[in-house]
């Protein structure tokens, strides 16, 4: 086996992991707080991508700036979905929550189809084909930047959750709803904010990777599946888990492509998922819930 190829695969996979990590952060946040599995996750992300695409093509705003707009728009959407829909079925059977979010996903996907048409697109990266060569292997600068952003976002979210009062309130409500009620936390409001923040992360992530991942309206499904994969492997509700899980899945797929027929590379990540589910269902960094 070609050593350069393995090294390059490892490096590319690791850096691309930043994209995966960004994808998973919002999902894990929403699940961690509300125990709601957001099946519309990928479709929300696609909306974040389209918003940054619009801003890039119509107003010439770089995705590395416009992600703020995507985040704000998705925050509003998240708030709306939580207050208007999820909140009403929080006690309904599991399958009803799934059905609800599937409905939301279907609406979002096809609204995108109506609004933006079916063709796949991608925001032209301001970094273009910029690469940094280290001997025989290269670093893709756009990915490097995304990786750094993923680290920054994870750190920023951690600071928000661990260092601010609102963040701590969110964690408290996630940790023990009754305990939160007892000390006078307005849990419904906290849930709405948390869903909003989670959705905002999804929007920001969409914008930030819109120059790396091509997208079209049906892309949402595969984004959702990949994100679930990452979040389960990393541990539902854990930010660090989402970050490390993203790197892990990306490296696994990249090495899968090196050693197997690349069209089989997703077998590696799904097998990893199954192993984790069976032997460590709480994920690598998840907390055991009794």
């Amino acid at each position: 086996m070609d050593v350069t190829l393995v090294l390059q695969g490892l490096l590319s996979g690791l850096l691309f992991g930043g994209v995966y990590s960004l994808m998973a952060v919002g999902l894990t946040l929403i699940f961690g707080v509300m125990r709601v599995v957001n099946f519309a996750h990928g479709d929300m992300m696609v909306w974040g991508m389209y918003l940054s695409y619009l801003l890039a093509t119509r107003a010439g705003i770089d995705p590395y700036l416009s992600f703020v707009v995507s985040a704000a728009a998705l925050f509003a959407l998240g708030l709306l979905v939580q207050r208007g829909l999820v909140d009403r079925v929080i006690d309904a059977p599991h399958e009803m929550q799934i059905l609800l979010m599937l409905g939301v996903a279907l609406v979002l996907e096809n609204l995108a189809l109506v609004a933006f048409g079916p063709e796949p697109t991608r925001v032209r990266s301001p970094l273009g084909a910029a690469t940094l060569w280290l001997g025989p292997v290269f670093v893709d600068l756009a990915r490097l930047v995304t990786f750094v952003v993923a680290v920054l976002l994870t750190v920023a979210l951690s600071l928000f959750l661990y260092r601010t009062d609102l963040g701590r309130t969110i964690r408290a409500a996630a940790d023990n709803t009754y305990g939160a009620l007892v000390i006078g936390i307005d849990v419904r409001r906290v849930y709405a904010v948390a869903f909003g923040v989670g959705a905002a992360c999804v929007g920001a992530a969409g914008a930030l990777v819109s120059s790396i991942l091509p997208f079209q309206p049906p892309t949402g499904l595969s984004l959702s599946v990949t994100s679930f994969n990452i979040v389960i492997i990393g541990g539902m509700g854990s930010l660090l888990g989402a970050f490390i899980g993203g790197l892990l899945v990306s490296v696994a797929e990249s090495l899968g492509a090196v050693f197997l027929k690349p069209s089989l590379k997703e077998l590696v990540s799904f097998s990893l998922l199954i192993v984790i589910l069976l032997f460590r269902p709480a994920g690598l960094f998840g907390k055991r819930t009794s």
């Binding site: 799934i98 609406v107 589910l277």
Partner: protein, 610 residues
């Protein structure tokens, strides 16, 4: 009801004569998805295990039958069963992994999705079975090849499949299997405590469900003549399979069919109305909004709502039937209602019940029934039970007391198999219980109740108790008769058709007791059956427990109501911080300084001379 079913069937059988072929096609899809939904319902609805990868079983079934037909010339009439068997095998593997490793809810959803995706990717990469290109079956119109020129034949086959799956579900629902599945879905731990081998029944449900789903694969293949991994193993098909039963009402017999009758035509209608114009996608937006609407306005699904509406409108004509319920409702709760003359019963109620009807089989009384030695359990930093020794003699009523947090309930969990001890041994009728699952322990004759009562809330009182009775009487009708006796005995006869979720606390306590009693135990562990009851409720319960004991059941009880414990127990064991601090007759215990201290504090001992 029966006539409604017959009439509906007659209409469905006659319809193709007057329908256009397009309408026939729509009905075929309604039946086909009703069939797949019903198949899914057995594991996803009745057993409550949400599989979101059912497309994989359609794929395995369809590919197998198609390959056997294309490569080996085997008629799909046979191939469909081979395919279904393979689908069931895959279902068994996935089910075993999921259930054995305790994956529930969303985790099971993802496990099934992951397996389906693995199948999809694998099939896409195997050229020998068509790869991503898929398989193309030639239309020949040869009935031996499962092909028909007349679309109405497919109509009848799809209808037959749907009816067969529904009949299967109906048969399951009425038998022990289905009752157990419902119990597992409602509360798996409580079901285990009543002798239900949850793993076994969930596996069975998975196998039956995936076998049927596999049959559907053959129909798909030979109706559409085209098999591609992305359509047959993909997530979208899995979603199609699950949304109909969920919309119709998961875990109900007619829910999947109703769901299909609602959603399939609506999908067609919305495409017809909204799919023609320039706004591509508008019809799917409408469909999504519809799904959201169902969740918000029919949160349990359409069928349960429909049933309630029908029942309400039927109330008047059928009041004769319901009236008897309401009459007996008025009977004193703790009395012995329902002994009106002329009230026929297949089994006359054993009044001073000897529920264990085979006294001859009772083990010789000289041996100790339950022996516990050195039992220990630690949770993290907390030593919940420390080296406990305990014995229950045949025919004994032993009280287990101690302050809150002393470890009493942990002891019960260790004895009944819900927890595995870190050390020590439990021997019941000379057999070690360590390592046995709760259902096996229950079947050996050791039954328990839960401190926080865990009725199956959506089942009636009688159905709740029947779950217990099925442990000894596998026949559903016989178990029902037995359950009725027990229900009478615990004083809920007037309430037997009431949904357990709506009972008062006192009634739920009785129900909890009745359910455990229905498993016909040799030893009954009662965990605070009187907590939260008022004195007028407690007295009859004490009488009831005495009666159970008199019928030959040994009892170990945890109780906070000291008056009751003192009155009932032959001996009492006192636990504090996981250790036995005293043991003796009620009189010994009441004056044991350590006990008074444990309960009331050392100051009390000093302040109040005994």
């Amino acid at each position: 009801m029966r006539w409604a079913v017959v009439a509906a069937l007659a209409v469905l059988l006659a319809l193709p004569a007057v329908l256009s072929s397009y309408a026939v096609t729509i009905f075929i899809l309604i039946f086909f998805y009703g069939f797949l939904g019903q198949a899914w319902n057995i594991v996803g609805g009745y057993a409550g295990q949400l599989s979101a990868g059912h497309a994989a079983f359609v794929g395995v079934g369809g590919y197998t039958a198609a390959m056997l037909s294309i490569e080996a010339g085997l008629t799909p009439w046979v191939g469909m069963f081979v395919g279904a068997a393979l689908a069931a095998l895959l279902g068994a593997i996935i089910g075993y992994l999921g259930f054995r490793f305790g994956l529930r809810g969303f985790y099971f959803v993802l496990l099934t999705v992951a397996f389906a995706e693995i199948c999809r990717i694998a099939v896409s990469n195997i050229d020998a079975i068509g790869g991503a290109l898929g398989l193309y079956i030639t239309f020949t119109g040869d009935p031996r090849q499962f092909q028909f020129r007349d679309g109405r034949v497919y109509y009848y086959i799809a209808l037959a499949l749907m009816l067969a799956a529904t009949a299967t579900a109906w048969a399951i629902e009425r038998q022990r299997f289905g009752i157990y599945l419902a119990a597992i879905r409602e509360d798996e731990a409580a079901a285990e405590a009543l002798g239900v081998n949850a793993l076994k029944y969930k596996m069975l449900a998975m196998v039956v469900s995936t076998f049927l789903t596999g049959l559907g694969g053959t129909f798909y293949a030979f109706y559409l003549f085209s098999l591609q991994p992305n359509t047959l193993f993909g997530i979208p098909l899995s979603v199609e399979i699950i949304i109909r039963p969920i919309v119709g009402g998961a875990g109900t017999l007619l829910g999947p069919i109703l769901g299909s009758f609602i959603l399939t035509p609506l999908a067609e209608l919305s495409r017809l109305y909204l799919g023609q114009g320039g706004l591509h996608g508008a019809h799917l937006i409408a469909y999504g909004v519809l799904l959201i609407g169902v969740v918000l306005f029919l949160p349990e699904g359409a069928y349960p709502r429909l049933r309630r509406v029908l029942q309400r409108s039927r109330l008047a004509p059928f009041s004769g039937h319901r009236g008897s319920d309401e009459r007996s409702h008025a009977a004193p709760v703790a009395g012995h209602p329902r002994s009106e003359p002329g009230d026929e019963r297949s089994h006359p109620a054993p009044v001073s019940g000897h529920l264990r009807s085979e006294p001859g089989s009772r083990p010789p009384p000289q041996k100790t029934l339950l022996v516990v030695r050195g039992l220990s359990k630690r949770f993290g930093g907390l030593q919940a039970v420390a080296g406990l020794d305990l014995a229950v003699e045949h025919g004994e009523m032993l009280g287990l007391i101690g302050p809150n947090g002393a470890g009493k309930t942990t002891v019960f969990n260790l004895l009944s198999g819900f927890l595995t001890p870190d050390a020590g041994d439990v021997s019941f009728r000379d057999r070690s219980l360590v390592g046995l699952p709760p259902h096996a322990i229950c079947r050996l004759g050791l039954a328990r109740t839960f401190q926080l009562v865990r009725p199956f809330p959506r089942m009636s009182v009688l159905e709740n108790v029947r779950v217990g009775a099925l442990a000894r009487h596998p026949h559903a009708l016989e178990a029902r008769a037995r359950a009725r006796d027990v229900v009478e005995r615990v004083g809920l006869g007037a309430r037997e058709h009431v949904t357990a979720g709506t009972l008062t606390l006192a009634e739920r306590k009785r129900l909890e007791l009745g359910r455990a009693l229905a498993t016909e135990p040799t030893l009954l562990l009662l965990d605070e059956v009187m907590a939260g009851l008022n004195p007028t409720e407690i007295e009859p319960i004490i009488r009831l427990i005495r009666g159970i004991h008199a019928s030959g059941v040994s009892i170990l009880l945890i109780e906070h109501n000291m008056r009751a414990v003192m009155a009932l127990s032959h001996r009492i064991v006192v636990l504090s911080f996981g250790e036995k601090i005293a043991e003796g007759t009620p009189a010994d215990i009441a004056n044991h300084p350590k006990v008074v201290e444990a309960y009331l504090g050392d100051e009390y001992v000093r302040a109040a001379p005994a």
